[in-house]
Structure formats: structure tokens, C-alpha cells
């Protein structure tokens, strides 16, 4: 015995794989797992890594304040990026009429997310970051690349699914970092909505 206590076994991480969903009785949707409910495949791992990278980079205004201001500011930046991606897809007209109503519905949700986070920041006297004005302003490399690669309907659907997958990871990380109950509850509702969005886009063929 060296006298040194052995290190404790590592606990499961905050992003520990969640349970797979129960098998559906009649699956019309693709047999995919809930994004946060399954062992992460490589693509999802890369996606969550990018989300974590985004979260690790505080905005200049919020860098010193830290805490909820920083986390909410980063959540808003991601929602602004999501809305920008939706608008790029809308401008491209690649989705076609078939998905038009769903696109308008979910784009309105994303706009509400931006407004809710901006209102929360403003209510505390915290400055909201400016939204991306052009593709080069998008901070997440794979979203920027996916916008650049908008060539057909399949690419448009992939982009929308990707931003929703990433937003789930971003908001889940935010839940662990926030302190104030009302902020946690807001982000929880955003997270739940983004999860339903991902199902909605995966159902579109």
C-alpha cells in the first residue's frame, strides 16, 4: 500500500447517454433515438463538441460578468444563429411547398426563442448580442458550412436538423450552468421545444 487513496471511479458525465426510447408500436418516423436519449454516435458527438466549443467562448461583453448573464447570452447567440439558418433556408426556396407550413410554424418558434431570451436579458439590464448579419458571422463551423452547402432540398433539411440537434445540446449544457430558477425554467422550455422541432424535421421526407 502506498498510503495514497485510490482515485474514485469517474462518475457518469453530465452528457451521460440517456435511455433509448421505447420501441414504437407502429413506426412511421425513421427509427432514430431521442437526441439526448441514446449513446452518442460519432456525428452527434462532433455536434455536441461544436456546441460545447460555442458555449466555451464567451461574448466579449459577458466574459467578465459570468454566471447567468454569460450563459443566457450564449444561448441567445445560438438561437440567433438558428434563426439565421432558418432564414437562409427560406431564402433558398429549396424546401418546396410541401414543407412550407411546417417551416413557417417552426421558424416562428425560433423567432419567439430569440425574443424570449432577449427580453430576459433586457429585463436584467444585460446587453443582447447582435445577430449574425451574414454567413461569415455564424460562429459554429458546421452550421456555416451547411449554409454554404445549401444546394438542394436534402441539404436544407440536413441543415435544419443539425441546428435543432445542436440547440438541444446547447440548452442542456446551459441547464447545468444556470443558477436562477426562472432562467432554468425558460431554458427548459426552449429545450423541450427544440426536441419537438427535431422530430418535426426528421419526419419530413
Amino acid at each position: 500500500m502506498s498510503g495514497v487513496a485510490p482515485l474514485p471511479r469517474p462518475e457518469p458525465s453530465a452528457s451521460a447517454p440517456l435511455p433509448r426510447r421505447e420501441p414504437p408500436a407502429s413506426a412511421r418516423l425513421p427509427r432514430r433515438e431521442p437526441p439526448a436519449g441514446a449513446p452518442l454516435p460519432r456525428r452527434a458527438f462532433l455536434a455536441s463538441g461544436a456546441a460545447a466549443a460555442l458555449l466555451a467562448r464567451p461574448s466579449p461583453a459577458a466574459a467578465q460578468a459570468g454566471g447567468d448573464q454569460d450563459v443566457l447570452t450564449r444561448a441567445l447567440r445560438f438561437e440567433q444563429t438558428t434563426l439565421f439558418a432558418y432564414d437562409e433556408v427560406g431564402r433558398s426556396r429549396l424546401l418546396g411547398r410541401g414543407a412550407g407550413a411546417r417551416f413557417a410554424h417552426l421558424r416562428a418558434h425560433e423567432s419567439s426563442h430569440v425574443a424570449a431570451l432577449a427580453k430576459t436579458l433586457a429585463g436584467r439590464g444585460w446587453t443582447a448580442p447582435p445577430p449574425p448579419a451574414r454567413v461569415d458571422d455564424v460562429e459554429v463551423p458546421q452550421i456555416r458550412a451547411a449554409i454554404d452547402g445549401l444546394r438542394d432540398r436534402s441539404a436544407a433539411l440536413s441543415l435544419l436538423r443539425e441546428v435543432e440537434e445542436l440547440s438541444i445540446e446547447v440548452h442542456r449544457a446551459a441547464l447545468a450552468a444556470l443558477r436562477e430558477p426562472q432562467h432554468i425554467q425558460l431554458v427548459a422550455r426552449l429545450l423541450a421545444a427544440e426536441s419537438t422541432h427535431l422530430v418535426a424535421w426528421r419526419a419530413v421526407r
Binding site: S15, L18, P19, R21, S26, G67, L175, A188, A193, E194
Partner: protein, 152 residues
């Protein structure tokens, strides 16, 4: 009417000391396993476990059991009450529960884990709505409440 769940949530919030709207951003109560806040977290997790089991979400229930043990707690789910009228409602009730309970959980890492369970419940409800020909994403700020018109 005061429900059993309402009473539990109120007592847990009191125990954890984090349920008031004017709680500041400062550190919460002790987050050590076995501490007061950890006991409160375990009570909330056991409540969620009862609903996950009732909804038939075996894997989510298994993860909750792991989380309870990680917090040095015992798995003792209470009776969740009468079964919901349909599977979509069962998932929406879980969403509502997690949205309500997340701010009351004191351990930050636990909130990340439970956030995953929230996402999974919302996912399952959306899939069921989509299959039934309804709107999978009923609200921009989804808390499990469903307007009548979006029911599948």
C-alpha cells in the same frame, strides 16, 4: 385542490431553499451527496421515476435509478396516481414535471442529466403526435401543456 405532487414539490422547494422567485444567482445550498439539497433532489427524482415507470419509459426509468443512486439516495418512487388517458398525455405530463422540477434541483450536473430526460419525453410526445397526424411541435416555449387543437 392541493395534489400530492404539489405538496411534494412545495416541501422539496422549502427543503432545498431554492424555490422562490427572488432567489439570486449566488451559490445554492450544499450540493454534497447526502446533504440536504441532495435529499431534496432524490425526492424529486423518485417522483419523476414514478411517472416514467407509469409511462412505460423503461430506459429513462433506469437512468433515473442510476441518478438517484449517484446522489446516495434510495429508489422509492411514490404512487404516481391515476394513469393518464393516453400515451401523449403521459409524455406531456413528464415534460411538465421536468420543467417544474429542473429549477428545484440543486446539483448542476444533475440538471444537465435531467435536461436529457426532458428532451427525451418531449421527443416521444412529438413522435406520437406526428404519427397521429397532429402537430408535433405545439408550442414555442413548450411546457407540456397542449392546446386542444393540436391533439392528434
Amino acid at each position: 385542490m392541493v395534489t400530492r405532487r404539489g405538496l411534494l414539490a412545495a416541501s422539496v422547494a422549502l427543503l432545498a431553499g431554492c424555490g422562490s422567485d427572488d432567489a439570486g444567482p449566488e451559490e445554492r445550498a450544499s450540493e454534497r451527496p447526502g446533504g440536504i439539497s441532495s435529499l431534496a433532489d432524490v425526492a424529486l427524482l423518485n417522483d419523476a421515476l414514478a411517472l416514467e415507470r407509469r409511462a412505460g419509459n423503461a430506459r429513462s426509468a433506469a437512468l433515473l435509478e442510476r441518478l438517484i443512486r449517484r446522489a446516495r439516495g434510495d429508489v422509492h418512487p411514490l404512487d404516481p396516481g391515476p394513469a393518464p388517458p393516453d400515451p401523449v398525455t403521459a409524455q406531456d405530463e413528464l415534460v411538465a414535471l421536468y420543467v417544474d422540477y429542473l429549477p428545484k434541483l440543486s446539483e448542476p450536473r444533475l440538471r444537465g442529466d435531467v435536461g436529457g430526460l426532458l428532451a427525451a419525453a418531449a421527443w416521444r410526445g412529438a413522435e406520437l403526435r406526428e404519427r397521429a397526424g397532429g402537430e408535433p411541435a405545439p408550442a414555442a416555449l413548450f411546457d407540456g401543456a397542449r392546446p386542444e387543437e393540436v391533439r392528434g
